[in-house]
Amino acid sequence: MSIKGTDFTRREVLKLAAGAATAGFALPWTVGGAFAQPAAGTLRAGIAGFNVINILDPAKATLIPEFYVIYGAFNALLKFNAKMELVPDLAESFKVLNSTTLEFKLRRGVKFQDGSDFSADDVKFTIERVADEKTAAPNRSKVAAIQSIQIADPLTVRIVTKAPFAPLLNYLTNTRTGTQIVSRTSLNAMGEAAFGRKPVGTGPFIIKDWKSGESIELTAFPGAFSGAPKVGRVLCPLIAEESSGMTAILGNQVDLTSTAPFADIGSLEKRPEVKVLKQAGLNTRYIAVNNKKGPFSDVHFRRAVSMAFDREVLVKAVLFGEGVAIPGVLPPALWADPKPVWGEYVTFNPEKARAELAKSAFRAGTEATLLVWGSNWWRRMGEIVAGQANQVLGTKITLQATDFNTAYSRAKAGDYDAMVMGWLGFVDPDEYLGEIVGSKGFRNVHFYGSQKMDDLLERGRTEIDPVKRKAVYAEAERLVAEDLPVLPCFCSNIHNLLRPNVKGFVQLPYSNFADQFGTIELG
């Protein structure tokens, strides 16, 4: 007989449970206390959608979040004002001596953050360093055209190019150029590696503490020539997910974000606890295609696919309306030209697309792989393009999701058919067209090479007259729409979210950030 005897009464159970609960909860909750709010005068500026900042040496930085910070710690010779006009920064003025020589008068009395004086020598050092092969600067090509840098006097510097070089002024601005002026004495004293962690510039904020992958802490540089900042300290947490950035600002964990999720702009604009800044951005998104092998090596196939998807749908479904469709690779904001010309091959037209496919060596049922990577909206972009092309043309384009590193290394190796791609934050047409479709462009992972295009691009580089230069790039854009080395898609808006008490942040289309911290006030 298996009769076992035990039972606990209700009171005993309650007592035991209560005992266990107090024993357990006593541990974590005795500390209690309030969540430490940052001290007043601290701006919490979240860098959202990115969580890697690898290096803060302008000559070596490559990632947009790295430049977000560099903008605020450094100055370049020039910068863009709120109207996106070129204005002097560390230079006081500049003039064109002849078609290959620019002369910069430098500001007097500018101090680096280490207290040393800024002079023409630092300018020469900085630019020569970027140009030096040994530095292996990613932006070397931007200064490769420079023949020499002459120091006329400590506050006058002349830059001589081998040939007329139109983009040069843009390449000397405080954007993703790498030409932000570094202190020769500091860099030599610290060594490259240490400088990359704690660089010394002339900007309004000093990089005080940098926890890799977590946050960067900036403190005001009272001696900045642009004036002492109004906030003493800026904390830039690196927020991996854009949506987390949004919940952070809604929950008042940050005051400002570098980006916002496209989908939520509409609802965020209605909320009182955040202010949404937005405008057309300097960026371009397209389908990179392999011009060397596979179906996309056939221009008719490229044209057929290009006509088979509706760019307006992309804007609606991928960006939730936060952007515009574009027929080429130049962002409209670059030229203040809101109405680019739409060529036949970049306009959605299923009939013509099928007719074009008939001209190609490939037929319905052609298989191809489209690589997608990154956050969800990139995937959606690929999904729609592939889905619509398959629907219209009967092709079998399948998606393959991967991470950016894999996608990009495969693209560089030519081991791909097509991938979603985009660039942002550049300020000169040559940075887009020259690099993306120029035969020597390092963003040309498409193996596209056209003499006609290269000639146009060369003319664009050497044409100093802006009106004529614009005409050259318009022609290049038409050629893009004709040859379709890439399949242009759209250009997206850029966004910043601010708490209502943040005043003085001016948003610029090249995705600026810390360059505005010097003027920000917390109300």
């Binding site: 007989m1 009769i3 076992k4 005897g5 035990t6 039972d7 009464t9």
Partner: protein
């Protein structure tokens, strides 16, 4: 029932909920045990003898229902006591020695721990210093172990249960119960799992300790030989009822109930190592018709009316009763 009875049980009925039904394990058992008396409860597995003991000590699971016309301990009705009041009696007044000495010990604690808490409990109940000995619990524990024949109490005290043999553990268990100085010890087949030699020693031990303390013992067993050795009086149970009860000598030498006779014959046959073992026919514990004698289906002397008439306990000798229609004829 005599005035001197330590415990009196009248018409104890215990049933268990099995699914939506209730199964009766004890069906109207009455007995009493005098102070200092060893009372044996004998029967096959499933006859209800263990349940009777557990019912007395309130150790049955919640799906068991215990009812009795009376259950008096020293004249006090146990049924009226709350759980808390009853707990005050457990151990120090009414204690139990279980069948399986190995399972009876908390495997995570040493023997010393067990004895320490038993001694502490007794002292707490009997009012700090008044208990026998007082003094250090460890000394007392060692003495208790010596009393049950353990020669090296220090070693045993320091041991965990799994380090000791069954016989050793049973001694320790008895020592632990004795340490509580209970008035009634319910011993539920305490020697079943032990070999013969140890069984004898344990039996003697219980008897000796019982005499020394003047405690009463309710000794539950299926072994008639054991019962004969230790018991003053015996009750034979079958299918939840007492079928025969009387002085041990009378019942064992002159059993009146056919079941008791069968049991005895089996036992004797076992002892003689017969080539053909005498066996009671049928399923042990099986109940016949609800209307008739429970044993009727297996009874070699069953008559027609056995299946229709419930027999009553009939006096068959001095203090000797039996439940059989044969006696009523």
């Amino acid at each position: 029932m005599s005035e001197a009875a330590l415990i009196e049980v009248e018409n104890l009925r215990t049933s268990f909920a099995v699914g939506s039904q209730r199964v009766e394990a004890v069906r109207g058992v009455s007995f009493s045990i005098a102070a200092g008396e060893v009372f044996g409860l004998i029967g096959e597995s499933g006859s209800g003898k263990t349940v009777t003991g557990l019912s007395l000590l309130r150790l049955l699971p919640p799906h068991a229902a215990v009812a009795a016309d009376a259950m008096r301990f020293r004249g006090e009705e146990l049924g009226r006591l709350s759980d808390a009041e009853f707990r005050a009696l457990q151990g120090v007044q009414l204690a139990m020695i279980f069948q399986d000495p190995v399972g009876s010990f908390n495997p995570a604690k040493t023997v010393a721990w067990h004895l320490q808490h038993a001694i502490a409990r007794r002292r707490a109940c009997s009012g700090s210093a008044s208990g026998s000995g007082g003094g250090d619990w460890a000394e007392e524990a060692a003495q208790d172990l010596r009393n049950v024949g353990i020669r090296a109490p220090e070693r045993v005290l320091a041991s965990y249960p799994h380090q000791l043999s069954g016989g050793m553990l049973q001694r320790a268990l008895i020592a632990m119960v004795i340490a509580l100085r209970p008035a009634l010890i319910i011993a539920d087949e305490p020697t079943t799992n032990l070999d013969n030699l140890v069984e004898r020693q344990i039996l003697e031990l219980i008897r000796a300790q019982q005499k020394k303390l003047g405690a009463s013992v309710l000794y539950v067993t299926h072994d008639l030989g054991v019962a004969g050795e230790i018991c003053d009086r015996i009750a034979v149970m079958y299918a939840g009822e007492i079928v025969e009860m009387g002085p041990a000598r009378d019942v064992l030498e002159r059993p009146r109930h056919p079941y008791a006779q069968g049991l005895l014959q089996t036992s004797a046959s076992l002892e003689r190592r017969d080539e053909y073992l005498y066996e009671l026919q049928g399923e042990p514990g099986g109940r016949g018709d609800a209307t008739g004698c429970a044993f009727a289906a297996r009874c070699p002397q069953a008559m027609a009316q056995c299946r229709t008439t419930q027999p009553r306990l009939v006096e068959v000798g001095a203090g000797h009763v039996s439940r059989c229609l044969l006696h009523e004829q």
